[in-house]
Amino acid sequence: MADYTKMWQDLGLDIESHEALLSVLGKAYADIFLVQKNRPEGMKYFDFVMSEVHGLRIKEIMDAKAQGRIVVGSYCTFVPEELVLAVDGVAVGLCAGAEFGFEAAETLLPRNTCSLIKSVFGFKLGRVCPYLESCDIVVGENTCDGKKKAYEILAPLVKDFYVMDMPQVKSEMGRKLLREEYRKFMAKLEMESGKEITPASLKRGIEIVNEKRKAMLRLNALRAADPTPISGLDALLINQVFFHDDPVRFTDSVNKICDELEIRVKDHTGVAPKGTTRLIVSGCPMAVPNWKVPMLIESSNAVIVGEESCVGERSTRWLTDVKGSTIDEMLDAIVDRYFNIDCAIFTPNPSRVNHVKEMVKDLHANGVIHYSLQFCQPYIIESNPVEKELEKSHIPTLRLETDYSQEDTGQLKTRIEAFVERLKKR
């Protein structure tokens, strides 16, 4: 890796802490990803992206800024990248996946706040997220109570914090609210970038993101094969990179790996022997480098064949209709697309469990692991009815509740192994 110290200093990073973070991240990546057997060649691109995640990609973002493009950071899949691309901006998902700076975060937040939110604060207070520091706008969306209240505290710490309100009910009023919020966000983007959103630029934004999602849908479908051609860890990584890579290059790289996986499927080769226990992971998002549970699962004689998560199918599954020709029509299409997202902040949220069932069927899974972050009320509360409904449909389900620490790995491993043993005995 080149020397990016100057760039990091200019961004105001705490160089020493940042070095420490990168070295932990690099070691974890080597221990978890690089040791996997039978990895597709196409993962080399993503290995490279990860090795340069705070380096070359940040340099690209800084270069884009120098060319007058704005950088818009967000923490949620409800913030439409299409709109950011329509002003030729760069959309980035911000760091929220590591147990870093929690002590500092706990000076501002209660201890019983979910790890994801604490991580957002840890990265900000510790000055170790170059994505966050390079943002012209940071969008905070009012999804769960934890996030929206924490954003009140985060706002003054960030250069331009923009709050996007969110509906909680899938009603006509809810849809109107989302549309109005997206419209206001478009105006904000136009004002900050000094660029007007035109039908052509919006269409281009929609098409770029549709292509990106199409590539992910292709990847997801290939995982239905047994043996599965790619590990769940590698597929999760691709879903994570989805949020911060250049979208066109990312799409190209996903399609390339899909070409390779198609050959694997034809040749009946994969990452684990045919007949290996296949699992769907459903629940809270796993942001980089939150790999704990998938790593435990895939080292317990099982493979993950799908993620029902915001870092997974909840972000990638629907495409935006491209028929519209006016801005209003295209905005409607974008709202229609995003209003499908079955996040647990919605009440009621029946489509989510139906989607899990579809995934189990389509991907030939043997069971579901429901993953909740401790103190994430929406997903923890939903986990009980989801488990009951799945078990009623004869889909074995294991509920796990954890955080970003490593202290419970022994207990988690025992549960996961027992669950896999349960599936084998069936």
Partner: protein, 210 residues
């Protein structure tokens, strides 16, 4: 394992993966081991409750006697055998006296905390307020059994309970479990060996070439 001869081996328990490198043998989780071990002793139990030294497991079995649902206590040793040991010591009882004295109590003191550290200080302050040691002992037993019963309720609500783990040797815990759940309770001989017997049965079944 020096000096011990064996035909086949399966490892289970918290250290089950540590044997890798020394002896290459199959490994099963203690949850599966308990299921197999329980089936050796009984074929009419619908649930297993294991209260061991540092964790509590509640397991439900399907109609074929196979592993169905399970729940475990989280992270700390609250409500496990270790908890009882610490509380017995705080009251100045041996473990045997602790159970025997608890059974003799007419009423139970309410113990509010399930944290080993906080409950110990609660017990000490009850004693210094002049509470009866037997009643405190019964209160402690009730606290852990009601917690275990609710864990059990999450996985199954009817049928005979197979009670395993060292705490199953405690007669007060056994009778409280029956009253609390209103379900029959079966305790095997040597309940603390159920996991090991399950692993041995797994080794016997396993098609394993040395």
């Amino acid at each position: 394992m020096d000096g011990i001869t064996f035909d086949r081996l399966t490892a289970t328990g918290y250290g089950r993966h540590l044997i890798k490198g020394s002896i290459d043998c199959p490994v099963i989780s203690e949850i599966s081991a308990f299921v197999q071990g329980a089936r050796f002793y009984s074929n009419d139990c619908q649930s297993i409750l294991d209260i061991g030294g540092q964790d509590t497991k509640a397991i439900s079995l399907d109609d074929k006697g196979c592993l169905c649902k399970f729940e475990m206590n989280d992270r700390c040793a609250a409500g496990t055998g270790r908890f009882l040991e610490v509380m017995a010591a705080a009251l100045g009882f041996t473990l045997e006296e602790f159970a025997a004295e608890a059974i003799l109590a007419n009423r139970a003191e309410k113990i509010n905390s399930m944290c080993t550290v906080f409950a110990e200080s609660e017990v000490i302050s009850l004693i210094s307020q002049g509470a009866d040691r037997r009643e405190v002992a019964l209160g402690i037993h009730k606290a852990i059994i009601s917690r275990s019963a609710s864990l059990l309720k999450r996985v199954s609500s009817a049928g005979k309970i197979f009670f395993a783990g060292g705490v199953a040797l405690n007669p007060c815990a056994r009778s409280l479990l029956e009253t609390e759940t209103n379900r029959p309770v079966f305790v095997p001989p040597d309940p603390q060996m159920v996991g090991a017997i399950g692993a041995a049965l797994d080794a016997a079944e396993e098609d394993w070439n040395l």
